[in-house]
Subunit: 726 residues, 2 copies
Amino acid sequence: MPLIYLANMTDRFYRIPAFIGLILSLSTSALAQQTGFRWELIAPGVWKSVVGASDKITPLAVAEINPRLDGLKKLGEPTFPNVLTGSTYQQTDGKTYLHFPLQKGEQLFGLGLNFKSVQQRGSIKTLHVDHYNGKDNGRTHAPVPFYVSSRGYGVLINSARYITVYAGTGVRTDSKDMPPEQNRNTQRDWSAQPYSDAVEMVVPAPGTEVYVFAGNNPMEVVQRYNLYCGGGTLPPKWGLGFTHRTPTLFTDEQVLTEVADFEAKGYPLSFVGLEPGWQSHAYPNSFVWDSTRFPKPKLFLDRLLQKNIRANLWINPYVSSHSPIFKDVLPYTGSHLVWVGRVPDFTMAPARNLYKDLFTKQHLSIGISGYKVDEVDGYDNWLWPDVATFPSGLSAEQMRQIYGLQVQKMTDTWFRQRNQRTYGLVRGSNAGSSALPYVIYNDYYDHRDFITALCTSSFIGVLWTPEARSSKTSEEWLRRMQSVCFSPMAMLNAWADGTKPWTFPDVAQDVKDVMLLRMQLLPYLYTTFAQYHFEGKPPIRAMNLVEGFSFDTKTTEGQLNSTENPYAIAARKDLSDQFMVGDFLLVAPMFAGSTTRKVVLPPGKWYDFYTGKLVGEAKVIEITPGLSKIPLFVKEGGIIPMIPPVLHTPVNEEKLPLTIRHYGKSETSWALYDDDGETFDYERSTYSWTRLAVKKNKKGELAGTWSPARNAAFHYTTATWEYMTP
Amino acid sequence: MPLIYLANMTDRFYRIPAFIGLILSLSTSALAQQTGFRWELIAPGVWKSVVGASDKITPLAVAEINPRLDGLKKLGEPTFPNVLTGSTYQQTDGKTYLHFPLQKGEQLFGLGLNFKSVQQRGSIKTLHVDHYNGKDNGRTHAPVPFYVSSRGYGVLINSARYITVYAGTGVRTDSKDMPPEQNRNTQRDWSAQPYSDAVEMVVPAPGTEVYVFAGNNPMEVVQRYNLYCGGGTLPPKWGLGFTHRTPTLFTDEQVLTEVADFEAKGYPLSFVGLEPGWQSHAYPNSFVWDSTRFPKPKLFLDRLLQKNIRANLWINPYVSSHSPIFKDVLPYTGSHLVWVGRVPDFTMAPARNLYKDLFTKQHLSIGISGYKVDEVDGYDNWLWPDVATFPSGLSAEQMRQIYGLQVQKMTDTWFRQRNQRTYGLVRGSNAGSSALPYVIYNDYYDHRDFITALCTSSFIGVLWTPEARSSKTSEEWLRRMQSVCFSPMAMLNAWADGTKPWTFPDVAQDVKDVMLLRMQLLPYLYTTFAQYHFEGKPPIRAMNLVEGFSFDTKTTEGQLNSTENPYAIAARKDLSDQFMVGDFLLVAPMFAGSTTRKVVLPPGKWYDFYTGKLVGEAKVIEITPGLSKIPLFVKEGGIIPMIPPVLHTPVNEEKLPLTIRHYGKSETSWALYDDDGETFDYERSTYSWTRLAVKKNKKGELAGTWSPARNAAFHYTTATWEYMTP
């Protein structure tokens, strides 16, 4: 009984006959009625299916996504992914079961912010917002129910439930690729995990929404996902500078002294973070300034701003009886306490408005630039239990899944209404967050796993910072600070023990060098974020998102154990310790205790960032980079625009000269983005794209040209070209 | 609107007006309607409440429990536990939330077979049958939804769902013992885990059954629970001997040679276990003998039995296409495969009958004594996913929670119908299993945690064996074998690498000594199991179950950090490395790498088992026991009946002399149990209790007497008294 859905085309969302539903029935069970999805095309390359009674409160609804149809149209109008043709669902026992076929050799990415693994086929997870605790089991800060296939499609389950995902583990009796039955007694190749040809999920609710994103490769799928979610966030320029969080009980004067120290010692700083001690009462929170430590907060913030330094405030959302909004917000709080604080139900407008009024008056109106939103993730021992109830009627489970997302959306709206961009920190997120100006952090603090999280963040529309806090050795300190400087937020988070960039004297200069390099790279980084916004390309990119870095299973299966063919290695081995920043820059962090490492170079020639020398092409290299620098490689034709090593992010009025590096021997071009760096005017076309091009002249010499925009949204004076490759 | 339930008294179950329901409503939420339970007295000291639409398939239903009203009546008729007066439930979002109050200082035990912790207040678990994987998070082999309070009551949730338990962690806004709001900025005693005054649970189903068990102390609660579940299992006598599992691909002759080795070297052995290689096809399973390795299975079993050795067969339930029942059982199997084998739905009689017929013909009728039921627990990667469906309509979740229990019940029934007791191994269980003749095992293999599991098993009506497999050193081997000999099943499980009791020559004699000591203790052990059956007292007992070992919070709170008062220590510190076997024997295992350990002695005098010397009274002692022996202590007035060090469990026809040890200086008496050791005739009163008494004569000297039963259910010829304490 095939079903075809016919609908009208509209400007915003258009619908065309899309896909033929399937109804299968299992031979083994009368109850096991599997139904084909009714897919509805809702944007170019994006399909949706509503199954049963879907929840009203979903991640995409909470994020109030505003799809970028312009960007989606530019990506083309692909057909529905073939692989998903046999997808089905079942409704039973108050739950919804989902079934999505898999092909041999297919790899899966995504399924939340994972810290141990990039490739997810073969894993089982119950997606649950929580502090990450050492296992990629679904409990993580952003358990986004979205996976991306190496075959070029993605599946999103838009549900705020604890979804259990079997990502290619179960074997059905009606499997199309049935693994052979083996005798463990006699067959040595008996497998404990027989081949599975499907992703299956339990959504513990009577219905759900399912989205499918098409693409020619994983990057296109991720682009469509991010564009559908509104395009990636474009932080204010100061957000891409360096940030430091001061000890929790510091006074205004102590903070100002510390800021002055950074300047005096020549370490860059763009914004500082104040920890709970800024409040009169914290854990639970009053949300008002402590008058002993911060008697004149506006004056304090003005003094910071005079130095071109913004301030960010730590909060968690749980309200103290000492807060001025306590009595008013009570009717809009849940049945359970968190650290004896009330838990606001932010799905209710009165709760949001009370916070908006207080926060606007106390913080935004006097210059606060953003928030660090703590403890919206877990642990279970700290947050409300799943038996908690909320006045809106939302269940505790759903509240847990959307709480961090909701606080991001709420606070972003406050700033947006002031035409002021914010950029903050958060510990809990979910699907639909691409456009939200928040970076996820935690206190798990494993350097290697922090880098894996940078990789995995790139599939699911979230940003992650591998913050530095403290270290046992100067080597570790330097290695961590080097990684921090190649992440969405370059953060030193030493509020507890007060470590400074210069705490380890023997590496203090090296730390300064990499922090200043971060500042020099701002034009490149800002353009990379603009790509996130306008094209959906994540700023940090797992290697699996690199175009031309194939995952062809034929190659893989034919050449196991080969160290010569990086495709095979990349496909078989989790490539989790290196990543791309933007289009050209490959970052291969070093970890304390190691002096050498392997780097997998995708197809095309790759050059050393510092020397411009060729290092290899489509192969695995072993490097011994020395302590002082983080290994960086640039793709053939790479263009890296840089400014001088400034101590603060340039303000809108400031114009600087550019040095534009070119790597390799090829002709190339690349577009440099700019805007005012502070407001949302770029959403109203007040921005500039400047083409940077390198061509060969008649003598065969490389020559760079640019056509700089001549509007207020362009801040560079001159371009000096450097042809790095000898 | 209080509700009172009136009902009739019957012989079997009787009902009286029991308890006044409460209806509370939360100030913060219109939806948060909490309703008081309607408790119905269903047996002395046992209450039940059915909430909403309870599932038909529950653990107690699957176990087909047959409450021992005789034993329950003997325990008296207590009133409903006061502490639970304010218990409530809520139904929302298709789930059932449960709320049970807690008092200050109250401790909680149970909530599954835990390996790291005995006391559970403050923990959060989602109870889910699974292989234990290093965290007491609810995923374990027997996630029994039952907790026992130090205040003398127990709560059982009879549901085959993944229940989430907040065992004293959440804080409600309407808490009666509200913790103070603190300011983390200024108050050093700020607590990350504020005081919680309730156990709360989510049963993810529209209803459930709740049982309450009363008691004057935790032991009485456990007794009521076990008696209500039918009384503890009484194994056949051979089940309490020593068992060894032979390498998986051994032939019949190799097994017989190995058995002969035990005899020749003087190591006891009562039954052997055959691993997957006995089958023609395994993983998935044919369930029929491999004709190359076991050409004449009946002859093989007869030859074993001539040596007084039983045989146990490894299985998992997943059926191969090579099994004779494959085609017939297909309609009764689930939607997913396990190791490419079909998964029978044993809730359906045709599936059970097919297995019964095949197993009876192939195994039981030719002398097989029992099974080792593997892989009915987890991991998720191996078993059916939660999206699986079954022909009976039972959900995958429920199937997972009851599968091991169902196989235990099914196989026990087969043996019971032959009037033959079985005793086997299983990896998955749940509530209601007290009467089932199975011991849980796994391959987690941490010696210390194995001992903790012995402690935690005692609260939830399951048996656990800390099997020995292999060891890195002879010290570890000896320490593990010593522990094994003081557990419900003394098992060497070295099918993989073939370790033998004598593998480490330097400890081979010590290993033999403790194995023979196990055999000598059989009269004591068998009586201990009879107590389990008739009185509900578990054979292995956590120290928290020792009568007089108080958990008075006043004592606890007043004397923190004291090493002089074991009550305080026991209450604050998890006492997880020592346990009782039966009424008198305190076992304090040693672990490789340690030469000393602390032992907490409850009130009353305690004596060294080997020397009879006084070691202390109600205090913590530090011992340095040497390598050769496991530290054992006997309570004042302890009576330990022993037989000679036999190599096999005595058969029914065999009669042996007793040596009866007495410890301490007190007059005392104790009842020794006996029966035929093989059949269920003891359920029809064919058993004996023999009073052993020690009194002081006129000179003040101790003198033992006994009044031996003179029926066929008594197997001891003479009694020699040994007054151990000098």
